[in-house]
Amino acid sequence: MESANRRLGTFCAIPLLAVLAVSFVAPLTVVAAFSVMPQKVFNLANVPDFSAYAELVRQGYWKSLAWSLGMAFASTIILAVICWPLAYGMSKVFGRFTLVITIAVVMTLFVSENIRLFGWVLTLMKGGLIEGHLRAWTGQGIDGLLYNVPVIVFGLVYVYFPFMLFPLAQGIAMVPDDARQAAADLGASRMQILREIELPLAAPGIVVGSLLSFVLAAGALAESKLLGGQAVIVIADEVETAFTYGQDWPLGSALSMTLILIIGGLSIFGITRVDLDAIMGRKR
């Protein structure tokens, strides 16, 4: 019975596997293959060398990579810290009011990311909503708030907020109330409960939320372009440039592969640390 079920399961998975192979594995393979081609070629019929990777190191592309990963890391930490209280409230305190917050946060996703970021540009730019009012009221202007690294991080935090909030709320919902109460009853302070009970038990939610926001933020482009101007160049920007203006597919592929390997490694590391089944709803 068991093995019959298993065989049926494999059989049913075939269509999805086929779709994944065509839509996901195939392009990746092409990118991987291009990344080892000599520079500036447009087909795969060449002798592989690793000149694109050498170029990546030589031209200082690692700086863009470091900026992307650094800002993604910063925004993930900030997101985790600011989302925790709200997620906690949503799963333990607010009751029906949680629905209102959920709808409000989801509604922001109805508007395109670029349009929302332009909204922030209008708000933050010199002569914009904030600076303009300030100058009109006080007669004293300030420098524009745009085009620096903190504002890019702010943009990342703003855009990927839902991707941290919902998994986190789900994770916190998995912390049984009685475990928290028992810990308090056994003498644990609020901080000790957080460290010993809530963080470990909500870990699947924290990991999923962090991975989602980190992965998305590391590959993000719009925030640095719109809010950051040219303050820093992020890796996604470099990839785009290599494929378009640069006309250097192997370089673009090498940059992509590097990003994919780093993020993939981090994801696998994260996912193997926690019990994902728990958050996906399967009973432990």
Binding site: Q181, A183, D185, E196
Partner: protein, 361 residues
Amino acid sequence: MTADPILRLDSIVKRFGSFTALHGVSLDIREGEFLTIVGPSGSGKSTLIRLLVGMDELSEGKNWLRGERIDRTPANRRPTCMVFQSLALFPHRSVGQNIEFPLKIQGVKEHARRERALELMDLLHLPQSYYTKGINQCSGGEKQRVALARALAFDPEILFFDEPLSALDYRLRKALEKELKDLHVRTGKTFVYITHSLEEAMVMSDRIAIMREGQFEQIAVADEIYARPVSRFVAEFMGEVNLFDVEGTTSGGLHGKGVEIHVNGEASEFGVELPLGQKGALMVRPEFVRFLSSGETADFIVRGILRAEYALGSRIQYEVEAADGTRMTVEKLREDRFSGQSGDEVILGWDIENAHMIREE
């Protein structure tokens, strides 16, 4: 009992919005006793225990632990702890880590923690190899022991129990009841136990407090509560009982519907007298009722028809319909089985020393 109480509750009131769960509850818990609070669900016993461990705040009243006011002290600063109904074990921790949790919180060194945990596991008959076992790999009974060990590791002044055995099957429950009582003797700690099961209360407790609608009906030792309940509620809650409405008569005797009463002066001697015109409920437990042969007499007699017979294992229970329609229950040991058929006319009788009077306003 001259010793000061370890925990004193003085007119504790708890309200949830417009609903009052506890109506001024007072109780002295004595050092080292096993006190069980029994009541049907919704009687407020769980609310009370949550107040006593500090998980909820009381609305009114005072509460002292060894002479010190603790009613505003949060749960984590009280030297008491509770074994939850759900046990509330930490699923992400091993058996050993669960037991050591309170010690870790107190900052006890790892080596000393481990030693204490193994000691407690020994006390609770958990094999040492369980130290590294995951909580979810333990059986129900093992989880109970882990929860108990964890509570004992905290070394509380008072250990509270919120129906921890209710989810277990009958045999395991019976075994753990006895173990718990044994543990109480061995640790010498004050145990306060909450249950809706009278049997559990009777087996384990020194004293029983019966709770009803947010108030204590009676607080006494088990035998006292069983033999001399103060109200119909307690009488009925404490198992099968026969009750008759009676009234005091001019001659100092008793008059009742459906029951022949052959007592006069001696009623006061046994505490079953009633002043003229006062109403009461005359009580007798089923095991004290005899089947009388013709000519035999007793202080109280009821005539009726045998309606049913139920085998309860070691005992047999009989249901008799009295002449006025009231139902009576009689219990006999299997060896004293009554040889009557359903539909037979029977005469039931009992003596004054087995009777009890519940006085009513």
